[in-house]
Amino acid sequence: MELRGKELNKSIATRKKEVLENTSILSEICQFLELKDVARMRSVSKIMNVIIKDSQFIWKPILQRTFPEVRILDHLTWQSLKNVYKSLRDYHYLTFEPHSSYTVGIIGSLGKLKPYPDIHSPEIESSGIFGGYSNYLLGKHIISISVLSIPSIKSIRKLRAEIQCWILQVNGQAQGWENVLDEHVTNFKMNQIKSSQILIVINSDQEYKTDFILDLEKKFKIVILKYIDNKTFENLTKAILKICRNDGETERKVYEKQLIRTNIDENSVQETNDSNNCILS
């Protein structure tokens, strides 16, 4: 009997351990806990540390529940979690700037960004647009950025009031891309979108230096990159924020320099001679 008791205890202990090492069970349990409890669980064992740290299924719902205003798209790291938590504690979430949310329209596809279909706005819903969210800690503030993929240029007029920055994304390898880009730019002009609000992104493996591009560079901010992935998106975000915040020509030049510097530091960016242009490799 004593042996059976010991076996039973052992089986319960093993079972408990199994639960703590099961990602899906842990994820379900964590949904019922507060952020600090989950953070504490991470320190119990190495395996729990790894499971909890790396599982977006655990953090995402908890963070979205704790901070409903913050939409998380990707790249959720322990660091970003800490930032969000610290911001709440140190700066009191409710005292954040009222304009800490920006909407960016991408003409073209979202590239490798994961789409987030749940954007609520009557205008947006009726246009069949989908988009993504991401958030960043800039200085003391969390900035929430919504990125909308606008399938049709016709939506520009409709969404003009809602979007603070437009990204024109074109594929530099497709045939006739210059005509498409020209058409988009004309559409922007027709819809009275300020050139300072537009960021042109050309997806390309090569550096494009056609007369057409050189001409565009005089009026618009142009970024040439291979594709918009999650990492380059962070750099783009900084550029977008500057566009949203500063309309003035002087400040725009400052941001362009900063962007180039940031890109060099973070993404091995090749700086070109032209300060208005940068190539991300």
């Binding site: 319960i12 351990k17 806990l33 600090k36 953070a39 504490r40 669980m41 119990v44 064992s45």
Partner: protein, 167 residues
Amino acid sequence: MFYNFNKIEEVKIRLRSAEGHICEVEESAALMSSFIRSMIEGFNEVTEVSLPNINSVVIEKVIEYMRHYKDKDPPIIKKPIISSKMEENTSAWDAGFIDADWNMVVDLMTAADYLMMIPLRDLCCAKMACKFKGRSIDELRAEYHIENEFPSEMEENLEFQHPWRLE
């Protein structure tokens, strides 16, 4: 001609356990499980459902839950839970129902997941969450027989990086 509707017996669904035992449950109660519902709706005249992953003790417990909630909605448990005591998180009946040993709660949770019974799965998860809520790291390690695997310098580093985890 008079019909006595009270006497019409409800259709019963036979649930075959991992050991091959048959447990019977009224169809209206069994429909609480989306898995069983899809079996019944997908295949006409299905009266027996095989549950090879669930033992008969757990099936009986699931049936108890199904019968209790066949005519009413189970209470929704708040996320996050407000207390480490189940009675403060849900109804007295639910708290009593889930007051079982660890093995049974884990088995029930697995069964609820398989049977697609979200309220029951949530109840099990909330019960387990109670065991973690507000507990210190040392208490948790003692409870789950886990030795401190972190080297002391890493432990200090964790504390330095995330002092709030200890709050």
